[in-house]
């Protein structure tokens, strides 16, 4: 419990620091953020017009610390301002829309690749040095070394353009109304296949390598040998004893990997035009939609923190040694 509380405190501090960075980032960059923001919005507005607009967007000419506290207050009350590009949509709502897709895409891809990678890793470690091991290891090395952008482009080329098996973008057929019916869901699945495959391809290798290494380290442990000596079946030892324990360090590596996953999903979303957070961020950056960029970073950080916390939690659940500590 103390462990979790400590982590929680850290995450809170981390969030505060992230929010602070977020606040200062645009203000530290060369040029007046407001100027940049509206200049790139591309309109040919007069200065009067501009000033009037600034006020409506809540750019107060207060001293920095007042701006800062106003900002913090709004962040903690869940108010991230309004998008400029999609005015007057609140940033939270815009991100909320995108979040669903990213969480779906990333979540499922992570689960699949984590499971698949872990199984492959377990299997490779168990049959270390045999052909399976070599194939899995080499495959894993390859998959983890190829940039997500390259994989998505190649996927798009092969399955989207050459074979035309899958659509080249978007989360679902725009002409179908979102609803809980098969037509819509199948469209979502159909559209999600390529980005999903890409992410799974990119992520699986890393998990497999981690799992394999952990497993190999573990297989030398006495309790594994003892389990075998006890006459437990190989599958039992492999899955119930070794894998379960090897999962612990893998899970903690998952916490770090979440950042990478987020990055990978960002490019994938951009390439496949998937309407998730990554794509939203990309579009916001192109349009210099400041409130969205800031909100986005904050949400992504929060997402990282939450998933780290979930990992911590599952760590505690998986490892009885931590329960009391």
């Amino acid at each position: 419990m103390a462990f979790l509380l400590r982590r929680l405190a850290f995450y809170l501090a981390a969030f505060l620091v992230a929010a602070t960075i977020n606040f200062f980032l645009p203000r530290l960059m060369p040029g007046d953020p407001i100027q940049i923001m509206f200049a790139s919005a591309g309109s040919e507005l007069s200065l009067e017009n501009l000033n009037a607009l600034k006020l409506t967007f809540g750019f107060i000419d207060a001293p920095l610390h007042e701006q800062y506290f106003a900002y913090l207050k709004s962040v903690f009350t869940g108010d991230l301002g309004r998008s400029i590009k999609y005015f007057p949509l609140p940033v939270t709502e815009l991100l909320g829309r995108a979040l669903i897709w990213t969480v779906g895409l990333m979540g499922i891809a992570t689960v699949i690749s984590f499971t698949l990678g872990s199984f492959l890793g377990i299997f490779a470690a168990w049959r270390r040095g045999r052909a399976v091991d070599s194939v899995i290891s080499l495959g894993a090395i390859f998959s983890s070394s190829v940039p997500a952008v390259v994989v998505s482009l190649i996927m798009l080329f092969i399955f989207g353009y050459t074979l035309r098996w899958f659509p080249n973008g978007y989360a679902a057929n725009p002409l179908i109304d979102p609803a809980w019916n098969w037509q819509y869901i199948s469209s979502v699945l159909y559209h999600g296949t390529l980005p999903m495959l890409t992410l799974v391809f990119v992520l699986t290798g890393g998990f497999a390598v981690t799992m394999r290494n952990n497993m190999i380290n573990l297989l030398g442990e006495d309790y594994i040998v003892m389990a075998r000596a006890k006459g437990l079946s190989d599958n039992n030892v492999m899955l119930w004893y070794a894998a379960r324990n090897a999962l612990l360090p893998t899970v903690s590596s998952l916490a770090i990997a979440i950042g990478t996953i987020l990055g990978g999903s960002l490019v994938t979303e951009v390439v496949f035009n998937y309407p998730g957070l990554g794509n939203t961020l990309y579009q916001a950056i192109i349009a210099r939609d400041y409130p969205v960029i800031q909100g986005q970073l904050l949400i992504m950080t929060a997402a990282m923190l939450v998933s780290n916390f979930v990992v911590d939690l599952s760590y505690v659940l998986l490892d009885p040694r931590l329960k009391k500590a």
């Binding site: 501090a13 620091v17 960059m29 940039p147 950042g259 987020l262 490019v267």
Partner: protein, 292 residues
Amino acid sequence: MSQLLQNKKAMTGLVILTIILLVAIFAPLLTEYSPVKRVGRPHQPPSWDHWLGTTRLGHDVFARLVYGARVSLAVGFGAGLMITIIGTVLGIIAGYKGGVVDEVINFFTNMVLVVPNLPLLLVLAAFIGQASPLVIAIILGLTSWAWGVRVTRSETLSIRQRDFVKSAEMLGEPSWRIMLFEIFPNLISIVGINFIGSVIFAVITEATLEFLGLGDPNTVSWGIMLYNAQNAAALSVGAWWDLLSPCFALAFLGLGLALINFAIDEIANPRLRTGGMLNRWTRMVRIGEGKL
């Protein structure tokens, strides 16, 4: 090092890396074309004149590819070096000094680890604008050291417990010397893994940032090639060579580096090693010389 040369994976990786390195160095000898001049009509498919075809602008893809290797390698190794140096120095200091120093470094490390890296880089690059490879390398170096600190620190923590560190302390070695000469040499493989890993990361991230349009279009690099190809809708118009050439180059480089990384890991951790003995073992079992 000699172990590295005996490892098949490492050899393959080194060969790949060497090929790319040679290509980068001898780029002018490998192609008659300039990477920044129009030398053909737009989007000519691969031919004798243009081995990998031409880009939308009529640049020779092969020429851009070989010259682009320079940037990818330079950014990769430059940023990788920076990331590694920062990570190693902070990691060793945090792990060895402990106390408040450790708390502070550790806090910032964890902090940086929980801020999503690529989005942050994206925002930084966007704010900076026209991020040349050098700028990209620098921001990569400044934002991506956390993982290195973490592994170096935890390894330092365990090495610090080893008695040779204690005896060095007892001999009155100054702490910088302990960190540099007693601890650091024992971290070589970790640092090596961190370095190669950072290089992979830097290569990938540079390409990604450039692909997303945050690079400097004057650059001849694989990321910019991707960006240009994507902008020219290379796939829609069927100019696959424009897009796939840098794709495969990046995959090739990534593979080479990953193989080296994997091999270092195997060498550092003998348990992970497979090597020839398992092949021999399998053969011996098969011919009935013994069993388990």
